[in-house]
């Protein structure tokens, strides 16, 4: 079973599973004052009283992730974690800086990146009126998966949803949807996995399923995992950055015994302190 989860490994793929970001910034123009309603906004826009300010969702981000690495991104709400994943998934275009995912610049041609990336977003990206199997078949068609039916069944079995394969997703619990979202993200055998809070909403058994899946595919894939929890990030990551207000507050490899970068090491005090600062002193246990 585990072999079927893995992407076939080749030299080309080894070179094409890297991520490079250089001085990447994402800027949005937002009204200086919050408008109570569209009507108020329209009136003030007509009166030319709306003033805009630049909001930097990400500012001068540099990072390099090699094949097989798990890159943890930790930070509070609004730190820019999801924006970073959206840039890597080609859903957002940076205002400046250069991006290369899987050896390709998304501004030149985003399609190879979209083929190479599996994205577990904050919402499961599933259609509630379709069954679990229909959802996977739909995404299988979008990605051109050659053995979509067999692959869908194998993944449904792996995430323990095979008995519910013909049930509509709207009848699923949050945890079941999240498990199906994991199957969806792995369906096309991506080389790069982007995970936005993948453990959110999962019960302990589902966490075990997810961790088992990640362990099976970790050597062949490059991961970027966003999490609120430094502990969770350190459990998996080989590098961790702490994001705060769109900037990197702290970045370091996770150093284990003998100074070798390895996952599962204890958080360095400095990193934990940076994380706490980024979180504004809380929440309890996050750092």
């Amino acid at each position: 079973m585990s072999e079927s989860m893995r992407a076939p490994v080749g030299q080309d793929q080894a070179e094409d599973a890297t991520i490079r970001l250089a001085s990447v910034s994402v800027r949005y123009r937002v009204p200086r004052e919050r408008m109570a309603s569209l009507k108020e906004y329209t009136i003030r826009w007509i009166q030319r009283r709306v003033q805009y300010v630049d909001f930097w969702a990400l500012e001068e981000i540099d990072l390099a992730v090699e094949r097989g690495e798990i890159f943890g991104v930790v930070g509070p709400n609004g730190a820019g974690k999801s924006t970073l994943l959206r840039v890597l998934a080609t859903l957002s275009t940076p205002s400046s800086g250069s991006v290369r995912v899987a050896g390709t610049d998304p501004r030149q041609d985003p399609t190879p990146i979209r083929r190479a990336v599996g994205f577990i977003a904050h919402s499961p990206l599933l259609y509630p009126e379709l069954t679990a199997r229909e959802n996977l078949r739909f995404y299988g068609d979008l990605y051109g998966v050659p053995d979509a039916a067999a692959r869908s069944d194998a993944l449904l079995e792996r995430v323990e949803l095979d008995t519910r394969r013909n049930d509509r997703v709207r009848t699923f619990s949050r945890g079941m949807r999240q498990r199906l979202a994991i199957a969806r993200a792995l369906l096309h055998r991506p080389r790069v996995l982007l995970l936005d809070e993948p453990h959110a909403g999962l019960d302990p058994h589902a966490v075990d399923i997810l961790d088992g899946l990640l362990a099976e595919v970790r050597t062949d894939h490059t991961f970027v995992m966003v999490t609120h929890s430094l502990e969770r990030g350190l459990q998996w990551a080989t590098q961790v950055i702490v994001l705060a207000a769109g900037e990197v507050a702290y970045a370091a490899p996770v150093v284990g015994e003998g100074g070798v970068a390895q996952p599962g090491a204890v958080a360095p005090d400095e990193m934990a302190a940076a994380c706490r600062r980024a979180m504004g002193g809380g929440p309890e246990g996050a750092c």
Partner: protein
């Protein structure tokens, strides 16, 4: 590959609609109720010959019924967050547009199939079965224009907070030329028994309208569907 993606998106939209029946039911009920309102507003005693005005009433009903469907065409993608899944996949944006426009066209055509007999019953005093081909051609060309323009503008509106309000505001002014051509052509056929030769100019206009907005969609859709 593009064909497989096109069919997947179209099948997904049809399957979802088949199971929820939200869009089709709303469009059909609106169309029937509008016809009933027109009937009692213009000819409560049933003594007038409404045939000369039938084309106008028919296309007003079709247009507003189509608006209901167009408003829904991206709503589910957005509400369930599925739009990101669609955009993160290696699908050419034009394929997304083509599938969505086809789904909208099919929904409108289905509602028309159900509504036209009722419309004939209410408003047309003499048969026009002999001109069914001409009517079908006008409806096909006008429906294509409504679906193409409507899908394009529904995409524009989907990322705005007031998408339900924005779509009619931008759609209705742009669809007026199509409405005029479709109404005059339909009225000419129903009321005057005009043949294809007599309405050739209007058919050409409808075809050109479709092509213009198809080209506009092809050129701008990648940008519109982005952030």
């Amino acid at each position: 590959m593009a064909r497989r993606q096109f069919l997947a998106i179209l099948r997904k939209d049809l399957l979802t609609e088949l199971r929820t029946r939200e869009t089709l039911l709303a469009m059909f009920l609106f169309a029937v109720l509008a016809l009933v309102v027109f009937h009692y507003a213009f000819d409560p005693r049933g003594t007038l010959d409404m045939t000369p005005y039938a084309g106008g009433m028919l296309w007003v009903v079709f247009l507003f019924a189509a608006l209901l469907g167009l408003n829904r065409s991206f709503a589910q993608e957005k509400d369930e967050g599925c739009l990101d899944g669609l955009l993160a996949s290696p699908v050419d944006r034009v394929v997304v547009f083509a599938a969505k426009a086809c789904a909208n066209l099919l929904f409108l055509a289905l509602v028309q199939l159900l509504v036209v007999p009722l419309f004939t019953l209410f408003f047309v005093q003499h048969g026009y079965a002999g001109h069914a081909g001409g009517i079908a051609l006008v409806v096909l060309l006008a429906d294509a224009g409504i679906a193409v323009l409507g899908t394009l503008l529904a995409t524009l509106a989907v990322n705005t907070r007031a998408r339900d309000l924005l779509l009619p505001i931008v759609f209705l002014p742009l669809v007026v030329p199509l409405l005029v051509a479709a109404t005059t052509a339909t009225t000419a056929i129903i009321a005057e028994g005009a043949g294809l030769g007599a309405i050739g100019g209007r058919l050409l206009f409808l075809g050109a309208y479709d092509v213009v907005f198809l080209v506009a969609a092809y050129g701008t859709y990648d940008y519109l569907l982005g952030e």
